[in-house]
C-alpha cells in the first residue's frame, strides 16, 4: 500500500511535469496559439503518465477493469478529440459528431463486462442513454462556452471537483480509484496553470482553455461514473460533483445572455461563481467524511479488548 508521502510525491510529480512541459511548449509556440493549445493537452497527458509511474499504477492491457478502460480508452479518445480541436484539424459538425459518439459509448465502455451490463438490471439502458445525453450536453456546452468567453473558472472548478471526487472515493474505500483522481487533478492543474498564464489579458480561447475544460468535464464524468458504479460513491455525490463546473459555466452563460444588470454582473463575478461551485463540493466532502467515520473509519480504530483490565 503506498504511503501518504508516496502519494504526495506522485501528485507533485504529475503537477510539475505538466507545468514544465506546458510552459516549455507554450514558450516554443509563443507565436502559434494553436500549437500552444495542443501543448497544454500534451503536457497534461505526460503529467498524468509521470504521476501514474511514480506511484506506481499500471493499467492492465487489455483493460480488465473500469478504471483501466477509463485510463486506456475513454481519456485518450477524449484527449485526441480535444487535441484535434485545439489544432484546428477538426471543427463544426465533425467535432460535434465525434464528441457525440464518445458520449454515447462512454458508459458501455466503462461498464463493459460488469454486472451493470450482464446482470439483467432493469432500466440500465435508459440510464446509459440519459448519462450519454448529460455528457454530450456538458461537453459541447462547456467547450462552446469557454471557446467563446475564455472562461478560466470552468477548468479550475473541474480540477477541484476531480480532486474532491478522488478524496470522496478514497474515503468510500477505493484507494486506487481515488489516487488516480488526485493524479488527474494535479496534472490537469499543472497544464491549466500554463493556460491561465497564457490567457492573461487575452479575449476568448487562445491557449487551449477550451480543450482543458472539455477534458476536465469528460475526466470528471468518467470518474464519478466509475466511482458510483464500482466504488461506493453515492449517486447524489456523483451528481453534485459533476454539477459544480457546469453551474459555473451556466451562471456565466446565462448572465451574459440577458441585459447587463447589476444582478447579472454579480452572477458573472468570480466570487459568486466560486461559492456556487464550492457548495456542492463541500457537501460531498462533508458527507464522504461522515460516511467514512460511520463505516470504514471503524476498521482503523483499535477495538477495545474483550478481556477486562484488572
Amino acid at each position: 500500500m503506498p504511503d501518504g508521502i508516496g502519494l504526495v510525491r506522485a501528485v507533485t510529480c504529475g503537477f510539475v511535469v505538466a507545468l514544465a512541459l506546458g510552459s516549455a511548449g507554450a514558450r516554443v509556440s509563443r507565436r502559434e496559439p494553436v500549437l500552444a493549445g495542443v501543448a497544454v493537452i500534451v503536457a497534461f497527458v505526460w503529467g498524468l503518465i509521470a504521476g501514474l509511474l511514480a506511484l506506481p499504477i499500471h493499467p492492465t492491457l487489455p483493460p480488465a477493469t473500469a478504471l483501466d478502460r477509463y485510463l486506456v480508452i475513454l481519456l485518450p479518445v477524449a484527449l485526441a478529440i480535444e487535441a484535434e480541436a485545439a489544432a484546428g484539424w477538426l471543427g463544426g459538425f465533425w467535432l460535434t459528431a465525434e464528441r457525440g459518439f464518445v458520449a454515447l459509448i462512454a458508459l458501455p465502455v466503462l461498464l463493459h463486462g460488469s454486472v451493470w451490463l450482464t446482470g439483467g438490471i432493469e432500466g440500465v439502458w435508459i440510464g446509459i442513454v440519459a448519462a450519454a445525453l448529460v455528457l454530450f450536453a456538458a461537453w459541447e456546452g462547456t467547450a462552446g462556452h469557454v471557446r467563446a468567453t475564455g472562461d478560466r473558472l470552468v477548468a479550475t472548478v473541474s480540477v477541484a471537483a476531480i480532486a474532491a471526487a478522488g478524496l470522496a472515493i478514497i474515503l468510500a474505500g477505493w484507494l486506487k480509484g481515488g489516487m488516480v483522481a488526485l493524479l488527474l487533478a494535479a496534472s490537469l492543474g499543472g497544464a491549466l496553470l500554463v493556460a491561465w498564464r497564457g490567457s492573461r489579458g487575452q479575449q476568448g480561447d487562445v491557449v487551449g482553455l477550451a480543450g482543458l475544460s472539455s477534458v476536465g468535464i469528460v475526466a470528471l464524468f468518467g470518474l464519478v461514473v466509475v466511482g458510483r458504479c464500482f466504488g461506493r460513491l453515492g449517486t447524489a455525490s456523483a451528481a453534485l460533483l459533476l454539477a459544480a463546473p457546469l453551474l459555473v459555466a451556466l451562471a456565466d452563460g446565462l448572465s451574459r445572455s440577458g441585459r447587463d444588470t447589476a444582478a447579472a454582473r454579480l452572477v458573472r463575478s468570480t466570487g459568486y461563481r466560486v461559492v456556487l461551485a464550492a457548495v456542492p463540493i463541500v457537501i460531498v466532502l462533508v458527507a464522504a467524511k461522515a460516511d467514512f467515520d460511520a463505516k470504514l473509519g471503524r476498521l482503523l480504530v483499535p477495538v477495545p479488548s474483550a478481556v477486562a483490565k484488572p
Binding site: M1, P2, L55, I57, T60, A64, T65, A66, L67, G113, S114, V115, W116, G119, A172, G173, W174, L175, K176, G177, C229, F230, G231, R232, K295, L296, R298, L299
Partner: protein, 188 residues
C-alpha cells in the same frame, strides 16, 4: 426359451442405456462451506467465508475420469464477520464484485486416488483464469435425511498477485490466501 432370453437381453440393454452413467449431486448450501483466510501483517490470519455458493458434482463410479466438478461462488457474498470490512472487500481494490461477480471452478481432468479424487480444472478469480489441481478428500456416499449425500474437502493455496489483485493493496493483507472448500453434495 431362446426367444425370451433374446427379449430379456434387449430390455436389459435398453434399461442400462437409459440409466444415468453418473450420480449427479447438487451443492448443499446448508451443510457446505467455502471459507478463506489471508495473512494479516504477516503475523496472523484473517478468516472469512462466502455465503452464496452453488455447484454440482457428477460422479462416475465406474469411470472416475468421466466425473465432473463445478463450483460458482458469488464474490458479493463475502463475509468476514465485519460489515464495514466486507464492504471494503467488495470494492475494486479487492474483489471488485461489480466487475467480477463470481469466482468459478470447472474441472477439466479427474483422477481417482485412494483418498478421493485429484481434480484439475480452470479456476477463475478476479477475471483471471488459471489451471489448478485440487486434492479432494472423500467420496463415500451415505443416505440421510431422505437424500443420498457425498462430501469432499479441499484447500487451494494461491497468491493474490497471480490473479491481478492490485499490488498496491498487498501489504497489511498479504499476498498469500487459502480457500477452504467443504462441499456436501446431495441427490434424490
Amino acid at each position: 426359451m431362446r426367444r425370451s432370453t433374446f427379449l430379456f437381453a434387449i430390455v436389459a440393454t435398453l434399461v442400462a442405456g437409459s440409466l444415468p452413467a453418473a450420480d449427479d449431486y447438487s451443492y448443499d448450501l446448508v451443510h457446505s462451506s467455502v471459507g478463506f483466510k489471508a495473512r494479516f501483517l504477516d503475523i496472523s490470519w484473517i478468516h472469512g467465508r462466502f455465503n452464496d455458493v452453488s455447484g454440482k458434482v457428477s460422479l462416475d463410479r465406474q469411470d472416475p475420469t468421466k466425473s465432473t466438478f463445478e463450483l460458482t461462488i458469488k464474490a458479493d457474498s463475502v463475509d468476514t464477520a465485519n460489515a464495514a470490512r466486507d464492504e471494503h472487500l467488495r470494492q475494486p481494490d479487492y474483489f471488485d464484485t461489480k466487475q467480477f461477480p463470481t469466482i468459478d471452478f470447472k474441472s477439466t481432468k479427474v483422477k481417482a486416488t485412494p483418498e478421493g479424487y485429484e481434480v484439475t480444472g480452470d479456476f477463475t478469480l478476479h477475471g483471471v483464469t488459471k489451471p489448478v489441481t485440487l486434492k479432494l478428500l472423500g467420496s463415500k456416499e451415505v443416505e440421510a435425511m431422505g437424500k443420498k449425500r457425498v462430501g469432499f474437502a479441499t484447500e487451494l493455496k494461491l497468491k493474490r498477485s497471480d490473479y491481478n489483485f492490485d499490488k498496491g493493496q498487498i501489504g497489511a493483507i498479504g499476498d498469500e490466501a487459502i480457500i477452504i472448500i467443504d462441499f456436501a453434495g446431495q441427490r434424490d
